[in-house]
C-alpha cells in the first residue's frame, strides 16, 4: 500500500520539477499533465479501498467502491485537458512569434516588444 503511494508521490514530484526547472514550454505542459494524472490516480486508488464492486447498482451489488472520488475525477480530468489544450495553443502562438520553445529565449525576445 505504501509503495503505491510513494510511486504516485514520485510521479507528482517529477511532474512538478519539470514545470519549475525545464525550459522547454511544451515539457512544462507535459509536467502539468503528469501532476494531474498523479492526483487522479491517487483519488481513485484510495477511493477503491473500501469496496470491491463497481458503483453501478445492479442486482447482487453489496460492497461497492466509493463513487464520489470517481465523479470528482471525471471533472478534474476534463478540466486538466482543457487547461493543457489552451496552454498548448498559447505555446504555438509563442513559437510563431519568436521561433523558439525555450522560455528564457521567448522572454528575452518578447521583452523588447512593449
Amino acid at each position: 500500500m505504501i509503495i503505491e503511494r510513494i510511486l504516485i508521490f514520485l510521479l507528482f514530484l517529477i511532474g512538478f520539477s519539470a514545470i519549475v526547472a525545464m525550459r522547454n514550454i511544451i515539457k512544462k505542459i507535459f509536467g502539468l499533465n503528469l501532476m494531474n494524472a498523479a492526483v487522479v490516480l491517487l483519488f481513485i486508488l484510495e477511493g477503491s479501498r473500501i469496496g470491491s464492486q463497481a458503483p453501478i447498482l445492479d442486482d447482487g451489488i453489496i460492497h461497492m467502491v466509493d463513487p464520489i472520488p470517481q465523479a470528482l475525477m471525471l471533472t478534474a480530468i476534463v478540466i486538466g485537458v482543457c487547461v493543457s489544450a489552451l496552454s498548448l495553443a498559447l505555446a504555438v502562438r509563442l513559437y510563431q512569434a519568436t521561433g523558439s520553445l525555450d522560455i528564457d529565449v521567448i522572454t528575452k525576445r518578447l521583452a523588447d516588444e512593449h
Binding site: I2, F16, V20, I56, L57, P67, A89, R93
Partner: protein
C-alpha cells in the same frame, strides 16, 4: 546567478515535497458515509443505476456545468488563436491534411488505407458514441464520454470521405454546439419555474423514479462536447479557416 536559480528550484521542490508527503502517504481510513448513503438512496433520488452518473449529473450537476464552461472557454480561446495562425501564414504542412479533395497532393498523408478504414469506421464509432451517451445512467459512460467518442466519429468521417457531408461542415457543427449550449442553460434554468430551483429536476414531482432529467442532460452535454471538440479537431487538421 545561475547557482542562485538552481538552489531556488531545489529548495522549492524540497519544501513542496515535504508539504505534500503527509497528505499523499496518509493512512487514515477512507470515509464510508457517502458511499453508504448512495448505496441506499441514489436510485430513489435520481433514478439512475450508475451512481457515478447520479452524482455527476444529479447531486453535483453544478460541477458538471462548470466543467462544460471550462471546455467552452478553452475551445473558444484555442480556436481564436488557431484562426490568427491561419491569418498569419498558410501552413504548408496543414495543407497536406486538408479536407478539400482538389487540394490533395498525391503523396499526401491521406492514403487509401486511412480513407477506407476511417470512412467505414466513422458511422460505427458514431453509433457507439450515441450508445455511450444514451445509456450513461445505466452503464458506465455518459454525456461527456459519449460526446468525445462522437467527436472522434465525426473526425473519422471528415478524414475518410471526400464528399462534404453536413456532419463534417464546421458551420453546421458549431450551430449544433451553440444550440445545445442554449438548451443546457434552458434545461438548468427550467427548474426555477417549476419550484425545484436552479438545476433542479423540473419533472421530479410527476415521476419520481425516472432518470429522464439525467438522460436529457446526457444528450445535451454529449452533443455540445462532441460538436465542439470535432470543430476544434477539424480546424487543427487545417480543414476550415473560414470559421
Amino acid at each position: 546567478m545561475k547557482a542562485l536559480t538552481h538552489s531556488k528550484i531545489i529548495l522549492t521542490i524540497l519544501i513542496l515535497g515535504l508539504a505534500i508527503l503527509p497528505v499523499i502517504l496518509s493512512d487514515a481510513p477512507w470515509p464510508v458515509q457517502a458511499r453508504d448513503y448512495l448505496f441506499g438512496n441514489a436510485k430513489a433520488d435520481t433514478g439512475a443505476d450508475n451512481t457515478v452518473s447520479a452524482i455527476y449529473l444529479g447531486y453535483r450537476a453544478m460541477d458538471t456545468l462548470g466543467e462544460t464552461l471550462v471546455l467552452l472557454v478553452s475551445i473558444t480561446g484555442t480556436m481564436s488563436i488557431l484562426i490568427n495562425l491561419g491569418r498569419h501564414k498558410m501552413d504548408e504542412e496543414a495543407v497536406k491534411f486538408s479536407l478539400e479533395p482538389e487540394k490533395l497532393p498525391r503523396h499526401s498523408l491521406r492514403t487509401n488505407l486511412i480513407e477506407v478504414v476511417a470512412s467505414k469506421l466513422g458511422p460505427i464509432v458514431l453509433l457507439f458514441g450515441f450508445y455511450v451517451m444514451l445509456y450513461g445512467h445505466i452503464s458506465p459512460g455518459g454525456g461527456f464520454q459519449g460526446g468525445v467518442i462522437l467527436a472522434s466519429g465525426i473526425v473519422f468521417l471528415a478524414l475518410g470521405t471526400e464528399l462534404k457531408t453536413k456532419l463534417t461542415n464546421t458551420i453546421v457543427l458549431s450551430r449544433i454546439e451553440s444550440l445545445s449550449f442554449l438548451f443546457l442553460m434552458l434545461a438548468s434554468i427550467s427548474g426555477v419555474f417549476f419550484e425545484s430551483g436552479f438545476f433542479g429536476n423540473p419533472v421530479k414531482t410527476v415521476q419520481n423514479l425516472s432518470p429522464n432529467f439525467i438522460i436529457l442532460l446526457n444528450i445535451i452535454i454529449g452533443l455540445k462536447v462532441g460538436t465542439s471538440i470535432a470543430v476544434m479537431c477539424i480546424a487543427m487538421m487545417g480543414g476550415s479557416h473560414d470559421h
